[in-house]
Subunit: 348 residues, 4 copies
């Protein structure tokens, strides 16, 4: 941490600040400039310390120089993490992970039919919501554990690992029992008790970025999980909230390569939520893979205009199949694979 | 809901859309324009229905015309709600509510000393954090139930009701046992299971707006609580996340009068979190009361540069006292009272 | 400027960076830490230099430690600037400046009638638009110089200085000839050539904050004007663009006290544009004065539902009069005056 | 336009609103619902009318149903516009347009050297700044017309059309004389007088999106140019301002496919400004082309750490060459071409 003093700080003022630094168990290193002095603080840069130093008299600004996370950082582990999510599927390697399925599980037939269709189109992980976070208390909130059982059946029938959202510590046993990957939704990115609890498991966790989550906060949320001993975290970019209202959210494609540079964890993209518009899902999926994403999470519904939630952003089986062929072309251009999907003949 | 069709929609297309509307249990009312037709949908405007209609072929846009919340709306209850929070204190009436205290409870002496000081300066509710949401897993996360006991002692000693944050359903019994007002923090504004659970209690709930919470979402979060039967909700504006980085958050003072127009619930302002800068707490507190807030929530610490959290936004006893005198002047100008605080002599 | 090096930087790397710093005409001061070294750069912190240092190999981050503006800063001039805008009116002193009038000037009778009404209610500066920035090319774009002449007549009849927007260097002579205060609109906050040109005049300039203008950028825009020799700048906060869509813009009340702390220039608030909703103009005006604003800019129209622009945010004469009485109460509480307006009897 | 009335509107109130609609030269079409009535307004949806209707008593909300732009819309012209920018280069066809060069032109040798290098790597249009918008008045502001002459020489030597920014009507003759494409920068997206003036020319105009420009506003800015008779507009997405501070701006890749759906105009991407970080330029360029962009605008400098501006986002010749090879792979996957660039062998 670097503390910049105001020009009027006297040697006595500096002395008092140094005393306060040492009281916090850190060492101070003073640089006296022509106009103002600067104090380097040796030791880990906890955000709380920055706050504290900012309140000291004659302190103009405090700059953190080290990253606040450690276990998730690329410096701590230079090689990519590859997460085994079961049934022979991994996330973070050469093969892209494609998680597809409906927003909400509606009944067993519905999820099995969807599972078969997305598998046929090249998906390798099945998604489906049983516990649904809904903005209004009057909306359909999911089938709960009954939905989990339907989802598990569909995963078995199609031999795909399954991913579903955990909304509360209350449901952790049920979700962990049925699911291969536990999803932490955007609204829970900073539900720290939930992060602690999934950190105590060893199941893979899909951690979505919050709607207003700084990339640093998102990585710190992952650090919560790793700090409890669970290294199996997959990050998921799903759009941020900006001033633009032409889409429901603004998919932040930039986050994908930046997070890959800062962290060893795999990153997947969710253009369905990221844009909220089915007409943008295909091009933004292609963009995400081109930017380096390790996979996609896509909402697919047999009949989006009858979906119980999020119809406006769901693809039909037909449009998902078309999207997968286009994505396969991009995958090939970035030396990634998408098994079982035939890319269109290259134009070049 | 109003469905605007694209110009190329044929009578057959319209017929199919009407059939789909009727299938959803609603009635359709068609207006044929010169260029395009418009269908009015009679019945409640659920967000999920909007999604669904947006996916129908030849639908250009869907507009909701009714508000998605009911119990919290001013139309449902025209008069202001006044919430009794215990020990003779109410929130939402003529007398302003001032909740003051430290970010984190550090020990019994610390919270009792702070309670006495803020009460002497005119606060009527004591705040203090026992369970602390922290961005980094390596920061101090609060004393937990031990902190609640210290807080309760301080409330008894000074005869002030106490407010503290509940972070998880796990701790609901402990928090409800000790606290007079249960705070739902900004990060949990859309923790819907937590909202359901505090809705089953009758304790007053202080519901903070999320960092990227639309006002409509915030009111829907309150609707979750009222829908479970708990009418005792106090809204708290605490700053939103914008592009501006000169403050930690951007206190949205506009939300105060707008929410007072839309809802009967009381609204308090938290300029400590709302700005993150202690130098802005006094003027933004004054602004909030001038804009119609029913009270304030202010971080006060005997020694902000030794605070275990959020020192940069905490006031000292002295600066809190000065702030309260200034706020009393504003309160008087807007026909509110702040018992026991002497406003400065008016200049006019 | 402080340059933080990555841990792997060798003494040779550091040597090369120091050489580059010295090449830029600055001195380097090296602090060797246990984990990483830090270089202090002595000399003014130009943003362009920060960019450049960020590209050097083994540089992890670059932190500016001095403010990039000088003439507008409170350090450069500790006492408040008080701007004389003509006809005995000043902005920045104890007396509040209230600029009121229609968005667009429609004809001479219209502006004279409005001028008389706003003066009667306590306004001391007349506003009106002759050159109108309009989002769509198909909207009414103002009467141009004819409008300026009507505005000047209305100013003479009511003995009020007048303020109007200058959109282009093309119209600078016309606007400077007729107006007492030249307004630079939000969309032109960073029209640097326009800033240079009004800097060459001595007329007071009202500089609005851009919709996505950092406070630092806004102060730098003012610095452009002062650097050309014109010290008569009045800043105007008029709302920023955020995710929230319940208002047209989000009035950033926090900016008012912060800018007053950073700069000696006066700051006025424009809640009409700041919120875009006439129902919020009164409470947000009150909040702005409570927060320390030196005045207000308010849209008033004899008949808002017949206004040629911005009707949704305009007050009627009656609601403006009511607002002024409420503002007078707040003014009195913050030791400001609003001549000729009777505050409501204080409640306290 | 659709006007939703509040439930308490009486037949008399409705009558008065209809009269006001008819006064504006439009027809009203009333739908009486069980709870509230809705009025359809037949005729073009000017934003100013929406404002006006919102002020009428008993109006709850006003919804526009038609797009406010016409000439730029895909409905007006279904086929893609292909813009001829000179020297045999077009923008908007199968061949991608790659505009590359330095942020600022520094001298003739510098720009000629850069032109040769970017051409060798596959660029087909040369960019360079002669008039530079700079946040601080103390930064280098470009060589002006001397810079234009150097740029023109470099374009001739390498047979590439040139693009450069026009900041003010003052310089329009000089820029139009030297440049093949006139760039309107982000800060001038809503400099309506400048838009009018370039609309009167027939030179291609590159119109950047403003930092807080809604997509609708950006298309309306283009409409200004087309409405004056100049159809040769190229849109350029260059990042928006969001809460995220890990990049200088947040490149909005979603805007690319959406604008291609809404408009027939070509769209290019500027990841250099869009992210402000050279390490993100390559992946975000790839993403932009995958999302459907018609080309790129890239900052390249022989020696970024000696650049007079924007070094932090500039590529070296070497990194630009590497980027172009990667982009060629993506281009081929989306059936676009990038003449003279050899894509890496596909992996698939």
């Amino acid at each position: 941490m670097i503390i910049v003093l105001s020009p009027e700080a006297t040697p006595d003022d500096i002395h008092r600040i140094v005393a306060r630094i040492e009281e916090s168990g850190r060492q101070a290193h003073i640089s006296t400039g022509t106009e103002r002095s600067i104090i380097g603080v040796i030791g880990p840069d906890l955000p709380a310390l920055q706050d504290m130093f900012e309140t000291l008299p004659h302190v103009e600004s405090v700059h953190r120089v080290t990253k606040p996370y450690k276990l998730v950082s690329r410096e701590f582990r230079p090689q990519d993490s590859v997460i085994d999510v079961g049934r022979g599927v991994t996330v973070g390697g050469t093969e892209l992970a494609v998680m597809a399925g409906p927003c909400s599980i509606e009944n067993e037939d519905h999820i099995v039919e969807t599972a078969r269709a997305v598998k046929a189109a090249g998906a390798n992980i099945l998604r489906g919501g049983a516990f649904k976070p809904r903005t209004s208390p009057y909306n359909f909130r999911g089938l709960g554990e009954e939905g989990l059982r339907h989802l598990e059946v569909a995963g078995q029938v199609t031999n795909m690992p399954i991913v579903t959202e955990l909304m509360s510590v209350r449901d952790i046993d049920a979700v962990a029992r049925h699911a291969d990957i536990i999803q932490i939704g955007a609204r829970n990115m900073q539900n720290f008790i939930l992060l602690d609890e999934v950190g105590k498991l060893r199941k893979p966790v899909l951690l979505k970025r919050g709607l207003s989550g700084f990339i640093e906060e998102w990585l710190l949320a992952a650090e919560y999980i790793l700090a409890q001993g669970n290294p199996n975290v997959i990050l998921c970019e799903r759009g941020i909230r900006t001033f633009e209202n032409a889409y429901r959210n603004t998919m932040d494609v930039n986050a994908i390569p930046l997070v890959k540079q800062l962290s060893h964890l795999p990153v997947v993209a969710d253009p369905s939520h990221g844009t909220g518009k089915w007409k943008l899902v295909k091009p933004v999926s292609m963009a995400s893979i081109a930017a380096g994403a390790d996979g996609l999470m896509i909402e697919v519904h047999p009949n989006p205009d009858h979906a119980l939630s999020d119809g406006a952003q769901s693809l039909t089986f037909e449009s998902f199949t078309s999207m997968m062929r286009a994505v396969a072309g991009i995958a090939s251009a970035v030396e990634r694979t998408l098994s079982g999907v035939e890319a269109p003949a290259a134009a070049g």
